[in-house]
């Protein structure tokens, strides 16, 4: 039974991870790519690690819990740091309907789209 759950988790993790990498390749700017990179890739890795821990080996389970906790803490911080750096460098938002809520004019190819 656990083998079936582990297999299902592997397939789920691979699918989510593939979507994450596909998003990084396809999304038009760094701000949207961060969604794919941080959320999808983290969730995919978590599913794969849980699948690895389904064997029940205590040493593996302990390390898997540690790594997932570590990634859950560090991935959002790293994504925020990259987004902040891109914003400081005034990288444009290339998405068609982008809205720059920070008051700067990074969205829409230089036209102002500040939220009132």
């Amino acid at each position: 039974m656990t083998a079936w759950i582990a297999d299902a988790l592997i397939v789920l993790g691979l699918a989510v991870m593939t979507l994450g990498i596909y998003g990084i390749v396809r999304f038009p700017d760094v701000y949207t790519q961060l969604h794919a990179s941080s959320k999808a890739a983290f969730l995919g890795v978590s599913a794969l690690l849980v699948a690895a821990a389904m064997g029940g080996e205590p040493a593996i389970v302990a390390r898997v819990v540690l790594i997932i906790a570590l990634l859950a803490l560090t991935t959002p911080v790293a994504a925020h740091a990259i987004g902040q750096a891109a914003h400081h460098r005034r990288e444009p938002m290339r998405s068609p309907d982008a809205v720059d809520e920070s008051g700067t004019t990074l969205a829409g190819g230089g036209t102002s789209s500040t939220v009132e």
Partner: protein
């Protein structure tokens, strides 16, 4: 047997994804996008090491995965701070030089 095959297929597919991520590090349009791709490539590698550990039911690949995750976090943070602020750390306010007015 089927269980092992799923693990091996997963390892192979993740290796392909790792190749795509590394290719995207190469092809990225801006430095920030390159950083995103680098972060994602390390996450793929952590997942790959997790699958290797699960397939062999040994824990040592997970030690490498944990160290890699930590190193990736520190390096991403330092690179992003350098990219945005041109210095990785906040500088403490220096006391004004010379006599006070």
């Amino acid at each position: 047997m089927r269980h092992q095959a799923v693990f091996l297929a997963g390892i192979t597919w993740l290796a392909v994804l790792l190749g795509v991520a590394v290719l995207w590090i190469w092809r990225a349009r801006t430095t920030a996008e390159r950083l995103v791709a680098l972060d994602a490539a390390v996450l793929v590698l952590v997942g790959l090491l997790g699958l290797v550990a699960g397939e062999e039911q040994r824990s040592y690949p997970l030690d490498a995965a944990g160290a890699l995750a930590l190193l990736s976090f520190v390096s991403t943070l330092a690179a992003a701070r350098y990219l945005g602020d041109r210095r990785p750390f906040e500088q403490p306010d220096r006391p004004a030089e010379g006599p006070p007015p």
